[in-house]
Each structure stands twice: as C-alpha cells, then as structure tokens.
C-alpha cells in the first residue's frame, strides 16, 4: 500500500471504503479514487498490454490523455482506469493479454517478432491467399484488439440520451481560464455553458495546490449563472454544434460563440524504453500525489525540458519520494523551482536528459546524459522516471472549428496562428500559462464573446480592452523551454513514438524509406495518431521524427488534420435512445388484437396478413374482405384553378371530371416516367380529393407544392393523409354489408363504379369511393382517423354474418396482381413510361393543357418502347422470385425481369407480371424466365387474369 497521509485538496474520502474486483481479485479503494489510483495504491504497476507487441504498460498521464491504462469495466471495453471513478462492486478486467496480464503469450511478438512486424506488415502479409482473409481477420482482431464488446444485447443495454442545449457562449475547458471566461460572459448576461472533462472544475489548479482557488472560481462562475458540466469532454466541433459527452448523456451544444480554454497536453520524451511501467509524465505523478494521496515511487529520477518537471520534483519530495536526480535539458535553468531543488540538495543536471530507461517489467534505472550522448552518461537506479517534454497546445478542437496553427520554434510546438469569427481561445492553449495571465485571458475572451452578442456596456468593453492590452504587454508565456530532440539516445531498445499503436521511431524511419514521407501518408501507413489518444501523445513526436528523417523543418512537415472525435466515446452515446419513428394507422391496435403479422411498409407499420393470406384472399372473392388502407396519401386540392392544376400535373384530363366521379391517374416526371399513381375524386367544382400511394404520399405533396409555388394558380393544397382513416370493403357481399352500416344507396345504378359519395358510415361522416383495386365490388371508405376503430369494428360486426374477413397486404398484393394493377416502384422503375407500362390510354396528348412530362411523352409515343409490362402464367407451378431475369430466345443476357409473381388460389395457377421485349407483348407468346438458374417457360397474358373485362368490378 502506497497511500500517503492526507494531502491538501485530495479527492478521496478516507472514511468511505469502496470494494471492487480487478481480474477477479478484490481491491480496497476509497470513495473518490479512480480505478487507476486505487490499483496503483495497492501496488499494481502493469495496467494493460500494448496493441501490437503486448508490452507492459503502466500509468503515464493519470488524466485520460494516453492509452496506457485501458481496462474493461463491467463488460465495457476501452475504459481509462486513470479517470474512471471506482464504484462498489464493479468488475474491472485487463485487456489485450492472454492468459493473464502478467503472463501474456502474445508477448512473443515483442521478443522475437519485431523484425517480422514492421509498419504495414499486415497489408503485405495477409493479402494472400485471399480466401483465408476471414481467418486472418479473426486472428488479428484477437491478437491486437482493444477489448471485446459483449455479444449479448442484454449485456450491452445501457441507457443513453441526447440533450440539446442552446447557449450564447460555450466554454470548453474548466481550468482557470475557462472558469474566468464563463464568469465574465455570464456576468454580462450571456447564457453560458462550460464543458470540462475533469471530475471537478479547476484543471491543473486541482493537482498543483490551487484547490481553494479553483473552488472559488467555479463558485463565481456558477453564481454568475453559468452551467458547469463536469466529466464532460467536448468530442468535436461541427459548424457550431459541439457534442459534449457526459456519462450517459450526449449534450448537443449549439452556442453562438465558443471560447476554447483547452490548455496544453504534456508531452512525453522519446528514448529507448520510454514505455516501461514506471515512466510517468510529471503531471501524472503530481495528480497521483495530490488528488489521490498515492505515492508514485520511492526513488525517482526526473527528466524535463521546462519548469513543469522541476515543480513535479518538488512535489515528489514533499510526498516523501527520494528524488535522485533531475535532468533539465535547458543549459541555463535558473527558475525559483530550480533554486529550491538545489537548496534541498537534489542533484540538478543541466543540459542533460534521459537517454534510456532500463528494467524488466518496470523501470529499475535510467541512463542520463547530454542529448545524443557525449560519453559522460550516468546510470542511476530508480523505480519512477518522471518526464516532461513540455506542453503542446491542445488545438485539435480549435482546428476543427476552423482555427489555424503554425510552428513556434521558440516553444517547439504548433501554436494558434488564427481564429475564425465567433471563436475565442484563452489560457495556456493561447500561450497564457501563468495563473494570473490565464485568468485574465479567460476573462477577456468571455467578455469579448458576450460583447459580440450585443451584451455589456461601455465600462465592460473598456475593461476588456484594458485586459487585452495588459496581456499583450506582459511576460505571460511560460518560462523558457528546451525543445527536446526527436529521440534521445540510440541504444537498441524500442523507442515508442506512438504508444497507442506501438509505432516506434524506427517504424517512422522505415515508412519514410518506403516513400511515405509526408505526415499524412505516414499517419495512414503507420497508424500513428490514429489510436485512442488521437495524437495527444504522439503527434508532436511523430512530426519531429518525420522532420529529422526528411530533413524538413517542422513547419514544412506540418500537422495531421484534426478530426472528431477528440475523445474516445462509446457508440451507444452517439446512438441515443433506440426509438424508430413509425407511423401507425388509427386501426393498428385492432390489427394487433386480430393477430396480424405486422411489417414495415415505407414508414408505416401495416398488417402483412392475419395468419392466413391464402384464405384471406379467397374470402374477398367468396364473401367480403376488409383492409386498412389508411396509409394512402390523401390531399385536398381546392380553388378555382384546381382542375387546371391537376391537368398540368397528370397526363390525363381531370378538369372535365364531374363532381362525384373518380378517375385513375398516374403522375409522371418531366421525363415522362411514372413516379406515382392514385385516384382523383372531384368533390365539387373547386375541390378534388387526391389519393397517392402509401410510400409516395410525402413526395407527391412536395411535388404538388413545388409546382404550385411556381405556377400562379388559385389553388390551396392540404395534406390530410394522417387525418383520415380509410378502409376498403370488397367482395360480392360488400354491398349488403354497406347497407347495414350506412343509409347510402349502394345499388349499382345509384352508386356506380367510379362514383364518389359522402355519407355516414356507422355514424362517421365519410367519403365513399367505389373503386376496385382488388378486383371485386369495392367501397373505399375515408373518414376521420379518430373514428378508425369505431368504423372498423362496426364493419366487422356488420359483416360477421356474411363471412367478412380482414385481409392484409400480402393477400391484397395477390388480388391486385390478378387484376394486373401495377404497384409503382415494384412493377415500374425509374425508366417506366405509361406506354411501356401498358397504359397508353392514360396519356391524353390531345388535351390543350401542357402538363409535366408532355414533351417526353410525345416522343415516347412516336417511338414504341423496347420493353413492355405484361402478365404471364407459369404452367410448371414454380413461383419465380421478383427480379428474376427474362432471357432472350437465343444468346446470353437479360431482356427483361419479373416484377411480381404469386400463386393464385382463386385461379389455381402461378401468375405474374414482367417486363419483356415489346415484340413478345402479345397473348400466348412464350418467354423464358431464369429463376435461381432454373429456366421456366412462361406464357404472356395482356389482359387481367381475373375478370378481364371488368364485369365483376362494375356490377
């Protein structure tokens, strides 16, 4: 146990123990611990195995920035132990090691496989033989995976949701600058949200002795009215939308202004053995001490390029860690921290760095010396090697928002060069690292953001200007840094540039040798920066290596493109709640009660059948059937020019339709192709009731609206699709059933085929259309959707004595096929004209009115179509698949296809529709259909299979 005495500002609650298991072993932790701190406190030093070489990896950053501590928590893989709070009873397991974390068989890859696994080896090795790829893929995934997702849905069930949050100002980052920005903007009246990835606002202050200051700053921001989100990393910047992940919630923050105070990311140093457990960033070591009271080691060596490392050394001494030596790459470091270390008797080696880390399974010593080695190296024992390669501005989100960076040679980092409008940067990411400067820059940015929204007054503007001037005058940057070399030392052991993907400095060298000599190409080839850290730890080292290999400057090498997500995020969080928008008719509940099998039909849920499609279809012929057709599109077209409007949209003539009469119509595109069909009933001189296909309702409404916006016609259009229920009562007993529920005279004389009448049906005011999609005498009854169940129930009750049965979509498809009524989209495609679809009669080229598609249809009329839609019968009884090929009489290829086919119990044979060569579109012609390789001889039919003359329909 390496738990320290109480530390000021520690996050743990020593009175509240928490137990969890790690690889089945019980671990005692304290409330406030992370999995990482708790495990470290009980002596665990290896947390995971690396991606490719299965090397041991230990805590490095303790801030969720690196990939070294990924574990599986309660079945969820890829969880960072260093930031995951402990919970009572949680099950934590290691990842990517088998059979155990301490003994991993795949470690052989590291011991003997190195020469055989250069970058891109899998591209070169596993491409032949191709048939083995599925096997390779399994093996590779198992060997190099990042954990496994539970297969069982129940195990993966996790409630997540979106929360849309509009704001005036979004501040990303909850350190000193972020809190100051949030407070400043909120005090000026802005609606402010602050998103911080840490468990509490304060950023570095929390681990560096500024807990009280952080608390006060957070309270100030809250009092001002800012909403502070903790444990809430921003995932990306998408044209003003910033998704922020907080536990099981994805905040979709849409703010008018964005202030980024994302700070810097402490960089590792590159030297042989830099991935050994026990090599830790200075910030990581300090967090362990101050937040979790965990002693990170007993004897430490510190290698740094800036004051961060010196401050860490002092903190370690304060925690009782022996600091054997501090190697500062700067030749002239003379900061107060350096002086304090000397006063405490710590050996401070200037112009020196770490050249190699040594040890088996854990750091046991380090070689220190001048960069590149000068023959005066010194080997020192230690169990903790604290490194700091300086801070690289965390500009990724800013770049996604449109900011530009440029290389700052003095600091050795890519710094902000320009910001887009509405985006502000403050704090260390903008070069203001010292506390006072960070807060001032935050306050200025917050105020400027608010001012740009018209908030504040002359005084607040004057204060912001003064603050801005002070920032530009003062020495606000960090104290001097030394730019570390690409690699310190050259001693054989692996030197990792990318810890996520196990890419070494040598791999970068090889990739350049192979011609991948730009940073973007190298990224794709070696996968550097593509792992869980998203370049936090490896982008700058990779750029330095690339520059050294190619002889370019770092500016010339440039950075890789910053892409979201900036933080690894579970897919479930992005998915949100699993609700699928589904339309249901007002009778849907009754269908369920009747045992309907329900299917998707466009965006509707509809009954496929009620368990007996064959019997349901026969009932329509023998007695009567009732089908819910509420899904049909329904439009009211009203106005003095309604007839002309429809004449312009349909190729047939509708303005001469008499009130109370119905006409079938197809809608054609301007290319003369069929895009939808339906019926049009004239209600009165100025009103038409138009139905469309179920799936075409929305498109037809838009099509009508689009043309109406262009044509100066006095017409109004109303979509009543969802407002009206509709059922089709069809069959030889339909008339008798109608007589029981309505006073309307349904005799063929009074209510003829293609008549439309208004009447009450079971008390509901209805529009009754006498049409016959299924071939029998039929009444399509349209009425307010709210009466859906009422009318349905009344009809079923009235028809009970007549053998009335409900029928679903499948029987309907068979029945309409018997009549050769087309289904647009199934029997037609994007090239089908009314001529090809055997409906030349519907095109009225002799009407005066120009109509959509006229020009194309005039040409189509002059040139007979190459193929035609016909019916067919199949004597051998096999039902071909829809889409089966129609073959030419001789030779290869395909000359048509089957669009619909069913066995008709009524007719006792297989029937269908198909596109065939126009020359074969005659009764009795034979065509060959290929169905799954079997050749079928079909006989062409050009008239409906059932009631070819329409006598039943009109009776």
């Amino acid at each position: 146990m390496t738990r320290l005495p109480p530390q000021r500002g520690e996050r743990i609650d020593r009175r509240r123990p928490v137990d969890f298991t790690f690889d089945g072993q019980r671990v005692e932790a304290l409330e406030g611990d992370t999995v990482g701190s708790a495990l470290y406190a009980v002596g665990q030093r290896t947390f995971s195995r690396s991606f490719k070489y299965h090397r041991r990896r230990g805590l490095l950053c303790c801030a969720g920035q690196c990939p070294n501590c990924l574990v599986q928590v309660d079945g969820a893989p890829g969880v960072r132990a260093c930031t995951e709070p402990v919970r009572e009873g949680m099950h934590v397991e290691h990842m990517n090691a088998s059979p155990s974390l301490d003994f991993d068989a795949m470690r052989a890859t590291d011991l003997v496989g190195g020469p055989f696994t250069p970058p891109g080896f899998y591209y070169k090795t596993f491409i032949r033989p191709r048939r083995l790829w599925p096997l390779y893929e399994k093996v590779l995934r198992r060997a190099a995976g990042l954990g496994r997702v539970a297969k069982s849905r129940r195990e993966r069930e996790w409630r997540t949701e979106y929360r849309r949050r509009h704001a005036d100002v979004l501040v990303v980052g909850g350190g000193a600058a972020g809190l100051a920005a949030a407070a400043a903007a909120a005090e000026l009246g802005a609606d402010v949200v602050l998103a911080d990835e840490g468990p509490a606002p304060g950023g570095r202050l929390l681990a560096e002795g500024g807990q009280d200051h952080a608390r006060e700053a957070a309270e100030h921001a809250r009092r001002a009215g800012a909403e502070l989100l903790s444990n809430a990393p921003a995932l990306g910047a998408f044209d003003g939308l910033v998704p922020v992940w907080q536990g099981d919630t994805l905040h979709q923050v849409r703010a008018k202004r964005h202030v980024y105070t994302t700070g810097v990311i402490e960089q590792p140093l590159l030297f042989p053995g830099n991935d050994l457990p026990g090599v830790m960033l200075s910030g990581g070591a300090r967090r362990l001490v101050s937040l979790y009271a965990v002693k990170p080691g007993t004897r430490a060596i510190v290698a740094t390029v800036c004051d961060r490392g010196l401050d860490a050394a002092l903190a370690l001494i304060g925690a009782g860690v022996e600091v054997a030596c501090v190697a500062d790459l700067r030749a002239d470091a003379a900061s107060p921290a350096a002086q304090a270390l000397v006063r405490r008797g710590v050996e401070l080696r200037r112009a020196a760095t770490v050249l190699e880390a040594r040890g088996r399974g854990h750091v046991q010593g380090a070689v220190l010396g001048a960069r590149g080695g000068d023959g005066h190296e010194r080997v020192m024992a230690c169990d903790l090697l604290v490194v700091s390669g300086g801070g690289a501005p965390a500009t990724s989100l800013l770049c996604q928002a449109g900011a530009r960076t440029a290389y700052d040679a003095e600091r050795g980092v890519f710094a902000l060069a320009s910001l887009p409008g509405g985006v502000y940067a403050a704090g260390e990411v903008a070069g203001h690292g010292e506390l006072h400067a960070a807060e001032l820059s935050g306050a200025v940015a917050g105020a400027e953001a608010a001012h740009s929204l018209g908030l504040g007054d002359a005084d607040s503007r004057a204060r912001a200007v003064a603050g801005s001037e002070r920032l530009s005058r003062g020495p606000v940057g960090p104290s001097g840094v030394a730019v570390p070399p690409p690699v310190a030392g050259d001693r054989g052991a692996r030197c990792f540039a990318c810890l996520c993907e196990d890419v070494t400095a040598k791999d970068i060298h090889l990739s350049v040798e192979e011609g991948y000599d730009s940073i973007e190409l190298s990224k794709r080839y070696t996968t550097t920066t593509m792992g869980p850290c998203q370049g936090r730890m490896c982008q700058l080292p990779a750029i330095r290596l690339m520059a050294a290999e190619t002889g370019q400057s770092l500016e010339q090498v440039g950075t890789t493109t910053a892409r979201p997500p900036w933080q690894a995020v579970p897919m479930g969080v992005l998915a949100g709640r699993p609700f699928e928008p589904a339309k249901r008719s007002s009778i849907h509940g009754r269908h369920r009660e009747l045992g309907a099998n329900v299917m998707w039909a466009g965006d509707w849920r509809r009954p496929y059948d009620y368990g007996d499609p064959r019997g349901e279809a026969l009932a329509v012929h023998d007695a009567a059937g009732l089908i819910d057709v509420s899904t049909l599109g329904k439009l009211i077209v009203r106005g003095p020019d309604a007839g002309e409007f429809l004449d312009r949209l349909y190729p047939n003539r509708l303005s001469n339709l008499r009130p109370g009469r119905i006409r079938y119509g197809v809608i054609t595109s301007d290319a003369g192709r069929i895009i939808d069909d339906g019926t049009i009933c004239r209600l009165d001189d100025e009103s038409f009731y138009v139905t469309t296909t179920s799936s075409g309702a929305g498109a037809v409404y838009e099509w009508f609206s689009w043309w109406l916006a262009d044509w100066p016609l006095r017409v109004h259009l109303t979509d009543v699709t969802q407002g009206l229920a509709a059922v089709n009562l069809a069959g030889p007993r339909a008339r008798e059933i109608m007589a029981k529920v309505s006073a309307v005279d349904c005799s063929s004389e009074a209510f003829a085929y293609l008549d439309g009448k208004q009447a009450d049906v079971a008390g509901a005011r209805s529009l009754i259309l006498r049409i016959g999609f299924v071939g029998e005498v039929g009444y399509e009854i349209h009425f307010p959707a709210a009466h859906g169940e009422h009318v349905w129930d009344a009809l079923l009750e009235a028809g009970a004595d007549y053998g009335l049965r409900p029928f679903g979509l499948e029987p309907q498809r068979l029945l309409r096929l018997q009549k050769m009524h087309i289904l647009v989209g199934q029997d037609t495609d994007s090239e089908s004209t009314p001529y090809g679809a055997a409906m030349p009669w519907i095109v009225k080229l002799d009407k005066d009115q120009a109509f959509i598609g006229r020009w194309a249809l005039e040409r189509a009329a002059e040139e007979p179509p190459e193929t035609a839609l016909v019916g067919f019968t199949l004597p051998d009884g096999r039902v071909p698949k829809e889409g089966a090929a129609v073959l030419p009489e001789s030779g290869d290829g395909q000359v048509g296809q089957v669009t619909s086919a069913r066995h008709s119990p009524q007719l006792g044979q297989v029937i269908g529709m198909a596109w065939v060569p126009a020359g074969l579109a005659r009764d009795g012609a034979e065509v060959t259909i290929s169905d799954d390789g079997k050749r079928l001889r079909a006989r062409v039919v050009t008239k409906p299979f059932f009631d070819p003359e329409g006598e039943v329909l009109r009776s």
């Binding site: 409630r159 949701e161 979106y162 929360r163 849309r164 949050r165 509009h166 609606d191 979709q252 849409r254 709640r577 609700f579 699928e580 928008p581 589904a582 339309k583 249901r584 008719s585 007002s586 849907h588 509940g589 509707w604 009211i636 009203r638 106005g639 003095p640 009130p659 109370g660 209600l683 009165d684 009103s687 006095r714 109004h716 109303t718 979509d719 009543v720 699709t721 969802q722 407002g723 009206l724 439309g756 009448k757 208004q758 009450d760 079971a762 008390g763 509901a764 005011r765 209805s766 529009l767 349209h782 009425f783 307010p784 959707a785 709210a786 009466h787 859906g788 169940e789 009422h790 009318v791």
Partner: protein
C-alpha cells in the same frame, strides 16, 4: 360535396392516436365532446406534483385544429377580423377567445381551439374570408395532428431530449410558435405559458411520440397526467399572448 368527412362526428366514438398508450399507463377515460379523453390517471397527488415540480404531459389530441390558407394580405385581414385586430408574425401565435392562431408561413396558419368553440371559429373565419374577398381555405385538420401538453418546471429539459428547437425564453417567449423537427418527425411547439407548452405532430406518429416523451419524462421524474390535471393551469395561459 363538402369537406365534412374531415370533421369528427359526435355520433361515432372519436379516439386519440395515443389512447392505447394512455390506457397502458392506466388512464381513466371519459367521453367529452364526442372524444374519449384521458381525464386522469387516478393518482391526483402524483399528477399535481409532476405538474408543479418536474414535468407532466397530457394528451390533448381532441383539440380542434383548423388549417387556414390564404394570400398573405388576406390571411392577415382574416386574422385581424377574427381576433379583434390581432396580427400574426412568424414565430409567434396569438390567443383570443380561447383560440390560438399559429402561423406556419405568411400564407398558412393553424387555429387551435376547444371542440365546443370550433363551429364559432369556423363561422368567423368564413365570414372574414368573405369580407377579405380573396381565395381562402379553412380545412379541419383536427385528426391529422396529435397534440400533447407539456407542463412543469422541467418542460424545457424534456424537450431538450428530443428536439433541437431553441425554447429559451429569449427565443420562444410565451406565445412563441416554433414549427420544426420533434423526435425526428415534423411538428410544432406552442409556448402557452411560462412552463406550459403544446406540441403538435402527425397523428399517425402518436404512439411513437408518446413513447419518446414518456421515456424522457420518466427519466426526469415526470409522468402522464389527465386533462383534469391541467385545469388549475388554464388560468395561467394568457389571452392575447403574442410573440410579437
């Protein structure tokens, strides 16, 4: 022929598209104005608490909805005539005589009112349209839309779970009317009072919308409430409220 077949009849039972969901949540139904209405869920205290402390939702699909179309000038004249000089501006609705006048565009609006007031509103529209003289159309679309009242201090948090429409008071004050995407389907939100909203959506999507709203409300400690639970809040809906 008229368009009477669009209007629910009192001679037949009219049901909300969410009635079955309400029944599953143990609603008590009563017939009012020809509609079966979820009047309560037999937990008055819990319903009152949800309305006052968290978030509550109530099915108001039975509200009459009349779609009014006319040229911009004619529509303005009709609205002015029917509302005693009221003027519609996009983004805001006005309430006069218990009816909300909500503009979708300068040429299209929907009027929401109690079923009992529907005939009077329709007559006034017809009368005003006649005076305006231009082409005007009033179509009853009551059954084309489901309607849910959302009320309580967490109303906006509830909406945040399924819509990106900005309902902050500075953008959607009382009387604000915001058509847009609700739970990924077309709809509209009317802010009737500081903590009370009415959302409209396609009637065929009723079950889906109920599921989404119910799920989100439950997460926030809210619940469905009956129409009776809204009565104490009716007085908080101001007359002549207007975004403008």
């Amino acid at each position: 022929m008229s368009l009477d077949f669009l209007v629910p009849s009192t001679a037949a039972v009219a049901r909300s598209p969410m009635e079955r969901e309400a029944l599953r949540a143990r609603a008590r139904l009563e017939t009012r104005d020809g509609w079966t209405v979820a009047v309560s869920f037999d937990e008055p205290e819990a319903e009152r608490r949800a309305c006052n402390e968290t978030v509550a939702f109530a099915d108001l699909s039975w509200l009459t909805k009349i779609e009014l179309q006319a040229g911009a000038a004619d529509l303005a004249a009709i609205v002015a005539s029917c509302t005693g000089g009221g003027r519609l501006e996009l983004g805001g609705a006005i309430r006069v005589g218990g009816a909300w006048w909500c503009p979708y565009t300068a040429e299209r609006a929907v009027v929401l009112c109690e079923p009992g007031a529907a005939a009077r509103v329709r007559d006034r529209i017809q009368e005003a349209a006649g005076v305006a003289g231009g082409l005007a159309s009033a179509v009853d679309v009551t059954t084309a839309h489901g309607a849910l009242a959302i009320l309580g201090p967490l109303s906006r948090e509830l909406f945040a779970r399924f819509t990106a429409i900005d309902l902050r008071p500075q953008l959607t004050p009382v009387g604000g009317f915001r058509p847009g995407s609700l739970a990924r389907v077309p709809g509209a939100i009317l802010r009737e009072a500081p903590d009370r909203y009415l959302m409209l959506f396609g009637a065929a999507l009723g079950r889906y919308v109920w599921t989404v709203v119910s799920d989100a409300a439950e997460r926030l400690g809210g619940r469905p409430v009956g129409a009776d639970a809204l009565e104490p809040f009716e007085e908080r809906v101001p007359e002549a409220a207007s975004h403008a």
